[in-house]
């Protein structure tokens, strides 16, 4: 596809960075993705499973449209996209410039292993004598000093841990391909020439330099020095002035002629200081007065070294920057209360436990106690370690630990059997994300996870058994002491360890706890123009939030690039391949094997292989090379391809060689879609008989199978892809609340027209009645600004008092009918739909609402306060009841914002009249994230929070003049009767997304009536039907900044379609053989991507090639074999299966 001129930099290759990079790449921008670690995926790469699915769904982030622009495999293995330049083990050194034009310098940490030469055989790891704790496994296992960066990656990513490496050289000797480059160490490249006539001076300086790791050489005279300079390159020369024969100043002049770039530092005695100053005019940098000590010399050398390194840094220009550097975990060992962590071996953190039970972890998924190998039968989780703890400097909730612990408990049951006992000690279970409450309930009822409300303060180890005892007091006051085999601490989050440095580099503001601070009403905007934040960098996110905000950050970056003109000057599309049309020719496959000096194919018998392969008439021949990537064989290869005129190539080679062969094939006119790489290095069939896997004959058999499978697949491959679908570059946004307006503005700012449909007369939705946020930001001016921008935007057409009547079509081309209040019906054409129909406060009749004037909802209280119908000065006592009709059937979900609203209103009432007694009756206070600090404020202000349970709800008595609430207070162990002037009910959020509307857009609602996203974690704003997106509170209950973020995420996803002239189809796409089709239409429902539709006019099934993902569900369900998948045809598939046996 076309690549736009603008480029963005994404710093941090965790899931947020990957999401933002993919989003920008999909809209055609060039992206540089920089990651400090040698692998992508950040924290998530170390978690095997995620809640609430208990699977990994990372690959669901991959593009579904134009999916061949990148890799289509597991993202833990690798991410490849034609518009993304991935830089692993790289750091951003400096940032200069402003929005639209940042100049950034990047520095890569040397791996010590040439990635292109390494074939991943592991010989180096076997000989390496150094063992260090493996950080990837949280130190639970050991690794060598030369190691693969992450266990999942397929491309060879062996690297040397230079901090552990002893430079013994064993690996370099063992490496069969010479990929290990020990001398690549940076300091050794900085070469210093010491010139002095006194041997003692020369020697001691040289010794100092060598000790610090630099490479130093000596010269005893000016002549010798000049000789050495002519021989090889030096970065620095330390030059004595007073020398017999040629003096320093003269050497300097001549040296500058030989090597003009060299830095020269003069060494002088007091007597010749003036000469030294004179020498500075001739080009010396500095002078040192002899005698000098090491601490005078070294800082100067270090400074030159830093400059030398900086000069080698790569400099790139980018228009926008997205910071997705992630966060760190709290280390309980460093806290006031360690809970035994770091002292007793059987106490782990959440992150360590994930590795303990991981299939790729130290126990291969069958965990035992690492200290003594004892089977695990009882595990306890302690929540809020380093969170919600003022003594640990954390007046915030880390937001994700409750769900992590629940998930780990469920996984532990899966791995360790039904007899396992799992207890979670908690204060409030904050399962407040979409569907999380149900997940928690399922864990409790069917998952056998035991929840104990109470805070454990100490863990004591039994000296003999190693078991751990936890003492705790329950809400009822009962004291318990329970022994466990393992205790897991839910360690909270902390800012990125280098946050202070990063804040300075990018000019960020930090909040009270050291996380990057965002602007009001935004989750992603920093105070610096053109720099955006994503993921946990700005604090405390789960995957769903991270992914949403990463898309929103991508949108912001894209907008900033667009405004700088990035979208106007497209870089020409990649030139067409110039491949000849081979669709009418029979398959002629040339198989090319590169043996990597025998490493890849240790038992290679070329003649035998060729004989076997040639049994298939489509194979024209076999070529075996020794090391194509080295170069000399390349010419021969191209000649061979040209003379044999194959139309398909099958390559079995290492990554570097495969790339070379691919290039050679392309230059010989072979279509890139007809060049395949057979992955013969990974052992594919060793599971059945692992002990036999090392036998040469078996290895040979394995590799033959893989080659024959590759041939079976390749010979049926067709290069022609289906025609592309033209895109109507216009969007429809349904709903004019904050989400709808934000989405409309985001798309319109990219120059595409938007039709915004609002049912009421006025834009603004719920924001029309909200006065201010919990943080104290006034909503009115913010809303007015957005409304003005929306109404005045030349690209936005607002239809107010209008309804959607019908919609049909598919991604790229929809048609909708809109009915206006006056009866007129307007026809609209658009390429994408964003639903933002919003929602509102759920109605209620509980607790005497409607029966007594003192009983009102939170919304009614807000409105009454604004209209002065309620005067705080006249109130004596207010009771707020949370979870009214929420978190129990039929609305069995947490609305997330009601607890924060209650805290906001209570604090407001207290600020107006400190004498008011306020009681908040709650089940779990959901003041998640930084809003926890307002919960603390509310308690400090004397607001009384009383927990209640579902089986003992508060009772409201409205039968008398002054209403009263009776609630059981579990700690005092008595019922309290509270007379109240106001009883305020938090009824939660109900979505405004009727079934009828869902049907109009051919999408689904979830169990609670919210928008059903394609994947709750990984595709939070996409519908399963391509081209359709949902955001705001019709998607999930959320706050204003979250709604804005989800709207911008939806807009960015929609731009993935709108930024294209046409939607390309994938090569593997379903097709209908109309002559065989019986029109039973079961394939329409079977298609999970809504890619099939009944064409009433032609009376046949149509497939939207762009939406089809080639999954084959239709082909499997079709009774007539009328549904086929091009690229995976029946004979092709059967032959591949045959080849396996």
């Amino acid at each position: 596809m076309n690549r736009k001129a603008g480029c963005a930099l994404i710093v941090g290759g965790g899931i947020s960075g990957m999401r933002a990079a993919l989003d920008l790449a999909e809209t055609g921008y060039g992206v540089t993705l920089v990651e400090q670690a040698p692998y992508l995926g950040g924290i998530v790469s170390r978690l095997d499973h995620q809640f609430p699915t208990n699977h990994c769904g990372m690959c669901r982030m991959l593009p579904l449209l134009d999916r061949e622009s990148g890799s289509q495999s597991c993202l833990r293995k690798d991410l490849v996209h034609e518009n993304i330049d991935i830089r692993l083990s790289t750091q951003v050194m400096t940032v200069a410039g402003d929005a639209g034009g940042y100049e950034v310098s990047l520095r890569e940490q040397p791996a010590g292993v040439d990635r292109l030469k390494c074939v991943g055989c592991g010989a180096c790891t076997q000989v390496c004598p150094v063992e260090v704790p493996d950080a990837f496994n949280s130190g639970l296992s050991m690794r060598k000093a030369i190691y693969p960066a992450a266990p999942y990656r397929v491309l060879n990513s062996y690297r040397i841990d230079f901090s552990a490496c002893t430079r013994c050289g064993a690996c370099a000797a063992a490496c069969p391909t010479g990929a290990v480059v020990l001398r690549e160490m940076e300091r050794k490249q900085f070469r210093v020439l010491v010139v002095d006539d006194e041997l003692i001076v020369r020697d001691s300086i040289r010794e100092w330099l060598m000790e610090e790791g630099f490479d130093a050489e000596m010269a005893g005279s000016g002549q010798e020095a000049l000789g050495r300079l002519g021989g090889s390159a030096f970065q620095l020369m330390l030059l004595d002035i007073k020398m017999p024969g040629m003096d320093g100043v003269e050497v300097l002049k001549k040296a500058k002629e030989i090597a003009p770039q060299i830095n020269v530092v003069m060494m002088t005695a007091y007597a010749t200081v003036e000469t030294a100053i004179e020498a500075m005019k001739t080009g010396a940098l500095e002078y040192l007065i002899k005698p000098f000590e090491i601490d005078v010399l070294m800082p100067m050398v270090e400074k030159r070294f830093a400059e030398f390194m900086a000069a080698r840094d790569e400099k790139i220009r980018v228009g926008a920057i997205v910071l997705a550097g992630g966060a760190a975990f709290y280390n309980p060992a460093g806290g006031k209360n360690t809970l035994g962590y770091g002292v007793y071996p059987n106490i782990l953190t959440n992150a360590e436990f994930e590795r303990l039970i991981s299939n790729a972890g130290p126990f291969s998924g069958r965990p035992v106690r690492s200290a003594d190998g004892k089977p695990i039968s009882r595990i306890a989780w302690i929540q809020c370690v380093g969170s919600r703890d003022l003594q640990a400097g954390a007046d915030f909730c880390s937001g994700i630990c409750c769900m992590i612990s629940i998930k780990e408990a469920i996984l532990a049951h899966e791995k360790l059997g039904a007899n396992l006992a799992t207890d979670i000690y908690y204060m409030d279970i904050r399962a407040c994300g979409k569907n999380y409450h149900r997940y928690k309930e399922a864990a409790e009822t069917s998952g056998n996870v035991n929840f104990i409300r109470g805070r454990a303060h100490t863990v004591v180890q039994d000296a003999d058994s190693g078991d751990l005892k936890i003492r705790c007091v329950s809400v009822s006051g009962a004291e318990t002491e329970t022994a466990y085999d393992l205790v897991v601490l839910a360690a909270g989050q902390r800012p990125h360890p280098d946050m202070a440095l990063l804040a300075e580099k990018y000019d960020l503001a930090l909040n009270e706890w050291g996380f990057a601070e965002t602007l009001p009403f935004s989750r992603i905007r920093s105070r610096k123009q053109g720099v955006f934040l994503a993921g946990s960098f700005a604090g405390l996110k789960d995957i769903r939030e991270s992914v949403t905000e990463a898309s929103a950050a991508a949108l912001a970056a894209s907008r900033s690039l667009h405004q700088a003109g990035g979208g106007i000057a497209p870089v020409p599309a990649k030139t067409s391949t110039g491949a000849r049309n081979v669709s009418r020719e029979p398959s002629r496959i040339l198989v090319i094997i590169c043996s990597c000096d025998g490493m890849l194919t240790p038992h290679l018998d070329a003649a035998d292989i060729e004989h076997r392969l040639k049994k298939d008439p489509s194979v024209t021949g076999l070529l075996v090379f020794n090391r194509i990537c080295a170069g000399p064989e390349m010419e021969g290869l191209i000649q061979e391809i040209k003379s044999r005129r194959p139309n398909r190539l099958l390559i079995a080679a290492g990554a570097a060689c495969a790339d070379k062969v691919r290039d050679a094939g392309k230059s010989a006119g072979i279509h890139p879609a007809l060049i395949r790489v057979a992955e013969i290095r990974s052992p594919a069939f060793i599971i059945a008989e692992p002990q036999a896997s090392n036998e040469p004959a078996r290895i040979f058999q394995d590799r033959m199978r893989i080659l024959i499978m590759g041939i079976s697949e390749l010979k049926y491959a067709e290069p022609e892809s289906l025609p592309e679908t033209a895109v109507v570059r216009r969007a429809l946004v349904v709903g004019g609340g904050i989400a709808g307006m934000s989405a409309a503005l985001a798309i319109a700012d990219h120059g595409y027209p938007v039709d915004l449909i609002e049912r009421s007369e006025k834009l603004g939705g719920n924001l029309n009645w909200i006065r201010q946020t919990l943080e104290g930001h006034a909503v009115g001016p913010f809303l007015e600004d957005i409304r003005q921008k929306t109404e005045k935007h030349p690209q936005i057409h607002v239809y107010s008092s209008a309804d959607i009547v019908s919609t049909w079509g598919e991604a790229g081309r929809f048609y909708s009918a809109v009915a206006e209040r006056d009866g007129a019906v307007v026809q609209l054409e658009h390429g994408a739909v964003i639903l933002a129909t919003g929602g509102g406060e759920a109605p209620t009749q509980l607790y005497g609402h409607g029966a007594h004037p003192a009983v009102m909802t939170q919304k009614e209280l807000e409105q009454s306060l604004q209209s002065n119908a309620v005067d705080p000065e006249k109130l004596e006592s207010v009771v707020m009841i949370q979870c009214v009709g929420s978190r129990e059937a039929p609305r069995n979900y947490c609305s997330r914002i009601c607890c924060q609203t209650a805290v906001k209103q209570a604090l407001y009432l207290k600020s107006r009249n400190p004498a008011i007694q306020i009681y908040v009756l709650y089940r779990d206070m959901m003041t998640v994230g930084f809003s926890e600090s307002y919960y603390t404020k509310a308690r400090k202000a004397g607001i009384l929070f009383i927990p209640y349970t579902l089986d003992n709800k508060p009772r409201v008595d409205t039968g008398r003049s002054r209403a009263a609430v009776t609630v059981f207070e579990p700690i005092i162990d008595q019922s309290l009767e509270i007379e109240a002037d106001l009883i305020v009910l938090a009824t939660g959020v109900a979505p405004d997304f009727p079934q009828q509307l869902a049907e109009i857009f051919e999408t689904e609602r979830d169990a609670d009536g919210f928008f059903q996203e394609a994947d709750v974690k990984w595709r939070p704003v996409d519908a399963m039907k391509p081209g359709l997106f949902g955001c705001g509170i019709m998607n999930a209950p959320q706050s204003i900044p979250d709604a804005v973020a989800s709207a911008e995420a939806a807009a960015q996803r929609a731009l993935g379609i709108l930024s294209r002239q046409s939607l390309p189809a994938g090569r593997i796409t379903a097709r209908v053989r109309h002559s065989l089709c019986s029109r039973c239409r079961i394939c329409i429902d079977a298609c999970p991507y809504h890619a099939r539709a009944w064409n009433a006019e032609m009376e046949r099934i149509d497939v939207n090639a762009a939406a089809c993902q080639g999954c084959g569900a239709c082909a499997a369900i079709c009774p007539n074999s009328a549904a086929v998948v091009d690229g995976l045809l029946m004979p092709q598939f059967l032959e591949m299966i045959d080849a396996c046996f």
Binding site: A392, R455, T458, V473, Q917, F945, I972
Partner: protein, 183 residues
């Protein structure tokens, strides 16, 4: 129980209860307290009563008298509340002869200090005599007989008769009384 909705001004403990407002009832203090087994209200229960303005119940409790000032709760409280200080403050209020207060705790502290005031250190025998006579309960000494015998056998209870002592600390005690503004 009927919740009073009267404003805090009439609550003599309001200054103290303000300090526990931020308590989240996690129970760390109760689980940490070595003396909680003997208390009528656990520390957490006591804070909750303070928050609810239950002045009578708080002052009638002997929980705070039993605090041995080990500071475990203060060390461990996730809210960082000065819990031990609050216990001490309650001891002071209780000692100002609140009629509701169980007298044993107050008399115990008062007579302990009286002995210190006389001699600069506590004389166990004198302290016992003073405490038992102040409690005006003839049976009480017999309840402590076995403890007394054990202490005697370990030479922890020197046989000294009560005396006026040197009272060299008198000035100090007077100054403290003056500072505390008590008669």
């Amino acid at each position: 129980m009927k919740e009073s909705t009267s404003p805090a001004a009439s609550n003599p403990l309001s200054a103290i209860s303000d300090k526990v407002n931020a308590c989240i009832q996690c129970g760390t203090c109760s689980a940490s307290c070595p003396n909680a087994f003997a208390m009528d209200f656990s520390p957490r229960h006591l804070w909750r009563l303070l928050q609810a303005g239950e002045v009578r119940a708080v002052l009638a409790s002997r929980s705070f008298s039993l605090c041995s000032t080990c500071y475990s709760c203060t060390l461990r409280c996730p809210r960082g509340l000065p819990l031990t200080d609050i216990m001490s403050a309650l001891k002071q209020v209780g000692a100002r002869q609140h009629p509701m207060q169980d007298p044993s705790g107050v008399l115990f502290y008062r007579n302990f200090l009286e002995s210190v005031r006389r001699h600069g250190r506590v004389r166990e025998m004198e302290f016992m005599t003073l405490y038992f006579s102040a409690m005006k309960n003839p049976v009480l000494p017999f309840q402590f007989t076995s403890l007394g015998i054990r202490l005697l056998s370990r030479k922890k209870l020197p046989l000294e008769l009560p005396s006026k002592g040197s009272r060299r600390l008198n000035a100090l005690f007077c100054k403290v009384s003056e500072l505390e503004n008590t008669p």
